[in-house]
């Protein structure tokens, strides 16, 4: 297939690390900063996949709603665009947040409940290796930074990794969501999984 085009939501957070990792895997990257970076005039997505990066989920949520990105994001993801949410991105995708910041909303496209800062404050943030049960079995080097955890998993949701008895990686159709930051450790397993979903879409 042609070179996949992957958008990274670029309002706030760890954007550059995702862009660098995607480019190292041969993707063309786009910073998504307004609705027109996401969908064309015909309403169809202009990208093959999307990453919702880590950052402060309450800040990203507020910016998305203020600047008209919230509904377009929800629509393209619900329509099946392959997407990877990392950390704050997982929180944005979830159908329910146990402990939202005041007024914080989520896209509600992934049938899970999440809790923010599930592993404690920054002194508890850690690097660790996890078993990854995606399309291939692997060990993933993960960085948890004030990370969220999944506390309820819906019927169509597959668990891909656990850490300290908590679910920290899930897949529901074309939606991948993880609590941790492989883009910081340089582990490409999860990003390759996303590009695998893009190839699958292109093959049908």
């Amino acid at each position: 297939m042609t070179q996949p085009v992957v958008g990274v939501l670029a309002l706030q957070g760890g954007v550059a690390e995702h862009l660098a990792m995607l480019e190292s895997l041969g993707a063309r990257v786009v910073r998504v900063r307004s609705a027109s970076d996401l969908v064309g005039d015909d309403g169809a997505p202009v990208i093959d996949a999307l990453i919702l990066p880590g950052g402060e989920s309450s800040t990203m949520d507020r910016l998305c709603r203020t600047f008209g990105l919230f509904d377009p994001l929800r629509e393209v993801i619900a329509a099946g665009l392959p997407v990877l949410g990392t950390c704050a991105g997982l929180i944005m995708l979830a159908s329910q947040i146990e402990d939202p910041a005041p007024g914080q909303q989520s896209l509600g496209v992934l049938d899970v409940t999440v809790t923010r800062n599930a592993f404690g404050s920054q002194v508890d943030s850690a690097e660790v290796s996890l078993k990854w049960a995606g399309s291939r079995v692997a060990v993933v080097r993960a960085a948890f930074i004030r990370a969220p955890a999944v506390t309820r998993v819906g019927g169509d949701v597959e668990v891909l990794a656990r850490y300290q008895d908590s679910v920290v990686a899930v897949r529901q159709g074309n939606i991948l969501a993880i609590s941790f930051h492989p883009e910081l450790t340089g582990d490409t397993t999860v990003h390759e999984e996303l590009l695998g979903l893009v190839r699958l879409e292109a093959a049908i």
Binding site: E56, A101, N117, E127, S129
Partner: protein
Amino acid sequence: MVNMTHTVHSPADNKTPVTGSKLVKSGLADMLKGGVIMDVVTAEQAKIAEDSGAVAVMALERVPADIRAQGGVARMSDPDLIEQIIDTVSIPVMAKARIGHFVEAQVLEHLKVDYIDESEVLSPADFVNHIDKHRFTVPFVCGATNLGEALRRITEGAAMIRSKGEAGTGDVSEATRHIRTIRSQIAELQGLYNVSPDALYVKAKELSAPYELVVEVARTGKLPVVLFTAGGIATPADAAMMMQLGADGVFVGSGIFKSGNPAERARAIVAATAYYDDPARIAEASRGLGEAMVGINVADLTAPHRLAERGW
């Protein structure tokens, strides 16, 4: 000297979580990029900051404008205040320790703040040494007016740098000078990297910074940690200018809660920081904010009242 604990442990296997590593410390700063960190002095202000889209708050007893007005020795805040703010918000909480005051830093780590600012806004506790930041699990941000100062702080373990500006003035000119200085010094090293790499030895000497770090900056064209800007930012346009000058994000101290309408101004500065390259959105954010903080022109400050000159 007492053996200070909290060093990074390196387990033999890779299943044991590693806390306090360089990656984990600078990782939190990476997640703050593109955001606004706001000074707050009460739990109510912390709530307003969170609700306005701050990526983190800096918990302190007096904003720099009041420290400047009231004078006297400025120290770490009361643990009660810091804990109240930690309990109130879900975003990261930072707090300030005096330059060189490693026990204030130990206390702040014990309170589980998410980041410590070893800050020139407080009165220095040691005029020779900064804190040995490698000894802590909690990460540190430090101020710098130029590249050499930034690299010395990174050598001591800082996981994030903020250019100092002149805190508590509402005058952005020093913030501009410091971010421009750091960026142009980086560009100069980058220029030397291919043309005359042998000149980097003397550059390391001139910058009073380790040669290896100087080479890394010359090769990559950036600091090895996140670079925010601080000190005098009072308007959405100020914040956007710092971003266009190459900052990864901004600290706003007195500029928000010393203004006429803090919640509106906080939201506007958040929007302008995210859309720093979009004049239409900065214009929209700048409308109807009411009084900005009154401010002091830095040029009118005599030398002993310039906080940026603290630290070396």
